[in-house]
Amino acid sequence: MSLEKTKYFQHHFVDPEQQYESSKLGMWAFLVTEVLTFAGFFCAYAIFRAWNPDMFINAHKALDVVMGGTNTVVLITSSLTMALAIRYIQINNSRAALINLVLTLIFAGMFLVIKYFEYEHKFHCGHLPGALYNPHIAPDCVAIEGNNPHVFFSIYFMMTGLHGIHVIAGMGLIVWLIIRTIKGHFTPAYYTPVEMVGLFWHLVDLIWIFLFPLLYLIG
């Protein structure tokens, strides 16, 4: 069935192809705004790191590379399953698409769980942003030398926090896609929402690809 005859064709467009290409460009324009949103935080990171290079190197040791690395692998895998979900809809295999969407959701959840444990450890050690910084030197907590270590944690929590909010938003969107896939809304002729959410999800992965080395692997 051609898209025009489905209820998903919007009549201010000339044809479905124009609708599809427009949706794509619109989503890319939105991703531009996301990049510039995180740009502010990357700028703060760059400046405070340039001013306090030794403190940053010390402070990053308080982060767990294993957990961060695992999260990186988790997100990359979720990107794969997201891309596969789109591919399976394109070749009319709704069931495989659904499985991949659910897998993506599970990986996203895993990311948040690992993040929760990381945050919990930070709270335990008092490695908190700004005025809340209150280091407890416990055996499993790293002592941080250098000027103003709370600055590192301000940046850490704000960047990973904002990123985490995007993960949660992405999970909500994926749930929406799962429901619609079960209802059979998506066909090879119309899968635009899946692709748009996919683009958003890949951006979430992209941001983490930069956050991980900058926060966890310095020095």
């Binding site: 479905p16 991703l31 760059a46 001013w51 690395g69 692998v73 596969l84 992209l206 930069f210 310095i218």
Partner: protein
């Protein structure tokens, strides 16, 4: 009107990209053990850029798409660079002082708050040119 055929990426392409991403992640973690001085961050960013290029071009389909989409995201990265780069022209040169004729007087004028003591203690204060 018939639907224009959209490009369907082969499964093998996705799997190759996925494997490459994992390998690159491994490389970046492994190389973090070594200290290359100021090259550390450049190396980390280069690997991250390579990973993100793979995600952008293949997972996000930019390799096969209308190039305008690629232009938009590249522009955003350029502007990110402008933002950080030009701001650092201020923040990295806070200590430079010029006289009224525009001649450099001192590039290590004392400003206490923003120096990590161990970083600059071995640099001599320059006076006049």
């Amino acid at each position: 009107m018939s639907n224009h055929e959209h490009h369907i990426t082969p499964l093998s392409t996705y799997l190759i990209v996925f494997t490459s991403l994992l390998i690159l992640t491994g490389i970046t973690v492994f190389s973090a053990q070594f200290d290359f001085g100021s090259f550390n961050i450049i190396l980390a960013l280069m690997i991250a850029s390579l990973k993100s290029s793979l995600v952008l071009l293949f997972f996000m389909h930019l390799y096969y798409d209308n190039k305008i989409n690629l232009a938009f995201i590249l522009a955003s990265v350029i502007f990110l660079g402008i933002f950080i780069g030009i701001t650092m022209i201020d923040t990295n040169y806070r200590t430079t002082l010029y006289d009224v004729r525009g001649k450099l007087v001192d590039d290590q004028a004392p400003i206490e708050n923003f120096k990590s003591k161990s970083h600059h203690s071995d640099i001599e204060h320059k006076t006049e040119h």
